[in-house]
């Protein structure tokens, strides 16, 4: 056990802090679920990539700086501390990227990773279908082999950033006679291909955060397949592990929210419900616990360990924490909790309302928390399947 940073790690932190403090936009960017905000966020990503900070843990050849996971955690801490923008290409950077690193051919890595790092190509995920939500193995969209191409038909839905993204990745049934998780293949599809129709869907907050994607005889080369034909489930499970596990939700994100919550409470302490003091402190402890557990996991991974079903513990913990922090913030704000940003009395309410609406989706996306509890019970605790 050694919970102090090395000098090299300290220098890395200092370098990141310096760069971010010089480059992070002073004013918040518009929401990346608008066209304008989407492009503003891409511009930021390009700047980040130019500085070599888009994905510090990737090899230099793909736009990274070959940092290890601990340094990645340090970078994330500095990123959130600096109040830097949300990552518009998070599906590409944190989910697809690691999957291509593991399952992609050298050609695929060279083709896709640098453009993910630069956000020249922004990705959305194309996993869910109207009848395949929690039950992802019920996928019906097909990709039928025709020579050196796949012809894709069907529908995907709940594709975050789908309204503006350039590419989607997802599972398609390559063996139409197959059932459940067999016969599925992981395919990368450009959204400007002929036969693709994207229908934006408005979310609770009124923004078009996600989209339906319709495929009508969309033809893509076999080279767009990631992993083996019929092995899409394994590839997707690795991706889902990244999502629920380490990358998508780094502790810094929640520690930043917890610190803001502490600040909000201190500003409103004189007037808000005194019971909220304990809630704020409980939230801070949980954010801290999430960081501690992540450092423990990273130490284990650096020692050669693998991430497994315990990613389901993470998913539940951070999603419940995020919801609880935002609920506590709204309770602190009291009757101003649901004021929109343009309301004259909304000064000091920051973006807690938007954050709360988003936090409500946490227990749903990336595999509902009910599915995660099944995974924990069956794969960690060894309880029998139903």
């Amino acid at each position: 056990m050694d919970l102090s940073y090395t000098d090299a790690q300290q220098r890395f932190r200092a370098e990141a802090r310096t760069w971010l403090s010089a480059n992070v936009p002073h004013a918040p960017l518009p929401s990346f679920d608008t066209r304008e905000g989407f492009e503003a966020h891409r511009a930021w990503e390009r700047k980040l990539n130019a500085g070599g900070w888009a994905m510090v843990s990737w090899p230099r050849e793909y736009g990274g700086r070959g940092a290890n996971l601990l340094e990645w955690l340090v970078f994330e801490e500095e990123y959130y501390r600096a109040g830097a923008p949300k990552r518009v290409n998070q599906n590409g950077l944190f989910l697809l990227g690691p999957t291509i690193m593991e399952y992609g051919t050298p050609e695929q890595r060279a083709r896709f990773l640098p453009k993910i790092a630069s956000s020249d190509e922004v990705w959305c995920q194309g996993w869910s279908e109207p009848n395949a939500g929690s039950d992802m193995a019920a996928i019906q969209a097909t990709a039928i082999r025709d020579g050196d191409r796949y012809v894709i038909n069907g529908q995907k839905t709940w594709a975050s950033r789908g309204a503006f993204a350039h590419w989607t990745f997802g599972m398609f049934r390559t063996d139409p006679a197959s059932e459940r998780h067999r016969g599925l293949t992981f395919v990368l599809v450009p959204l400007d291909a002929k036969g693709v129709t994207v229908r934006p869907i408005a979310q609770l907050d009124g923004e078009t955060g996600f989209a339906e994607i319709f495929f009508d005889d969309v033809s893509v080369p076999v080279a767009n397949r990631l992993g083996d034909e019929g092995k899409g489930w394994n590839v997707a499970m690795a991706t889902a592990g990244f999502e629920r596990g380490l990358m998508l939700r780094s502790p810094a994100r929640f520690q930043h929210t917890a610190a803001r919550l502490v600040g909000l409470y201190r500003e409103n302490e004189a007037t808000c419900d005194p019971a909220l003091r304990d809630e704020v402190v409980a939230c801070w402890m949980d954010a801290e616990a999430y960081a501690l557990e992540t450092y423990r996991t990273v130490s284990r991974l650096l020692g050669g360990g693998k991430i497994g079903a315990e990613a389901s513990l993470n998913k539940i913990f951070w999603s419940e924490l995020d919801l609880r922090m935002h609920e506590t913030a709204l309770r602190i704000l009291g009757d101003r909790a649901d004021l929109l940003a343009e309301a004259p009395s909304a000064t000091g309410t920051d973006d807690w309302l938007d954050g709360w609406l988003f936090s409500l989706s946490g227990p749903i996306y990336a595999g509902t928390n009910e599915i995660q509890r099944n995974v924990i019970a069956e794969r960690i605790l060894g309880l029998p399947r139903s």
Binding site: S128, N131, G133, S134, D135, A138, T157, W158, I201, A202, Q203, L204, G206, F210, C272, D273, P274, A275, L276, R331, G334, D335, R336, A337, D338, L339, L340, E342, A343, P344, S345, A346, L353, L357, L360, S361, P363, I364, Y365, T368, N369, E370, R373
Partner: protein
């Protein structure tokens, strides 16, 4: 001792339910959201024909002369339809406040017009930052120090405060108080405003019950229909137990709201405690119902096009109306923990005699 409603009251409730199901479907609520004022004159005219605005207006002033028990049933139905606006601000708060303050000329002038549906009243309440439905009111009753002032719309400055729940039309209101605008002062005003606050909190509680009912109904219907893993998701114990948990909290909030309505109607000494209990229990049940409803619906419930969020937003924003959790909890605590408080078995209805 009979804890229940009369046939007449139940008929009134089911009539309203049928009426609102027909006349106020989700499309109407969405149109109200989009509208400038949040008020639909055609719907209001029809509600007026049923006597809704004048429910608490004395019969002498052309109202129905009913009490807060009927009001609670009305507002449960409003919650079930996700309807707010003047059905709350005018019928539940404005009209009875007007009827209570000792200003006969004002009453004579306005109460019949409330009952006919011609006038809508917005009420400012002591301790509350915002005034609901002020943008479309024909009369505003506003607190100032320990007085009540009556103002015409052109005599006040309104600033709209847009909220996440588009049904919540709230305003920051400023005005110049004068002896000409004062309609009640001193103990009269204090008592009237305190009762108005309790009525507002009761109104939020009753709506919350209707909202929670509707959320449970919608979610059970979805859970019966929606299939995953080749079975309806409602057959999964996780879904069943979440919804059963909502039912438990809801079914024990409901009688608290009905009792609070009785206590306000009878002007009981423990009225404020009962109202605060009702508001806490009902809005907590509605919030829990919203949480579970969204989780069971999953991504589809997170869309603007699905109607679920009409009720989600009500469940969330009713909590913010008429005093928050901390305020109401403190009121109950102060009563229950006071010296000589009578809190044991046999005391529940001891104050009714």
């Amino acid at each position: 001792m009979r804890f229940g409603f009369t046939e007449d009251q139940l008929l009134f409730q089911s009539t309203l339910r049928d009426f609102l199901a027909k006349e106020c479907p989700p499309a109407t609520i969405r149109a109200l959201w989009e509208s400038e004022t949040g008020h639909d004159a055609a719907l209001w005219t029809k509600l007026s024909a049923l006597g809704v605005p004048g429910l608490l207006v004395p019969e002498a002033h052309d109202g129905l002369g009913r009490d807060e028990i009927d009001l609670a049933l009305l507002l449960e139905e409003a919650g079930r339809a996700a309807l707010c606006g003047p059905i709350v601000s005018t019928a539940a708060i404005g009209a009875p406040l007007l009827a209570e303050i000792p200003a006969p000329a004002l009453r004579e002038r306005w109460l019949p017009r409330v009952a006919s549906g011609e006038a809508r009243i917005a009420v400012g309440l002591p301790g509350l930052r915002f005034v609901s439905d002020a943008g479309d009111a024909t009369l505003l009753l506003l607190p100032h120090a320990d007085e009540v002032h009556a103002l015409a719309p052109d005599a006040v400055q309104l600033v709209r405060e847009p909220a996440s729940d588009p049904a919540r039309r709230i305003f920051t209101v400023s005005f110049t108080a004068s002896s000409a605008t004062r309609v009640a002062a001193g103990e009269d005003a204090r008592r009237a405003l305190a009762t108005a606050f309790d009525r507002a909190a009761l109104a939020a509680a009753a709506q919350a019950i209707g909202v929670a009912d509707r959320l449970v109904d919608m979610t059970c219907a979805y859970a019966r229909e929606r299939r995953q893993f080749d079975v309806p998701i409602g057959s999964f114990q996780a879904v069943k137990h979440m919804l059963a948990g909502v039912s438990v909290r809801l079914e024990y909030a409901r009688p608290a709201v009905h009792r609070a309505a009785w206590s306000v109607a009878r002007g009981l000494a423990a009225r404020s405690t009962h109202v605060s209990h009702a508001k806490l229990a009902a809005t907590a049940a509605a919030r829990l119902a919203a949480r579970v409803a969204l989780q069971v619906h999953g991504a589809i419930g997170y869309t603007w096009e699905q109607d679920l969020h009409l009720w989600l937003r009500r469940a969330w924003s009713l909590d913010l109306d008429a005093g928050g959790e901390g305020h109401h909890r403190a009121r109950v605590a102060n009563a229950v923990l006071a010296d000589g408080a009578r809190v044991g078995p046999g005391e529940t209805f001891a104050g009714e005699a």
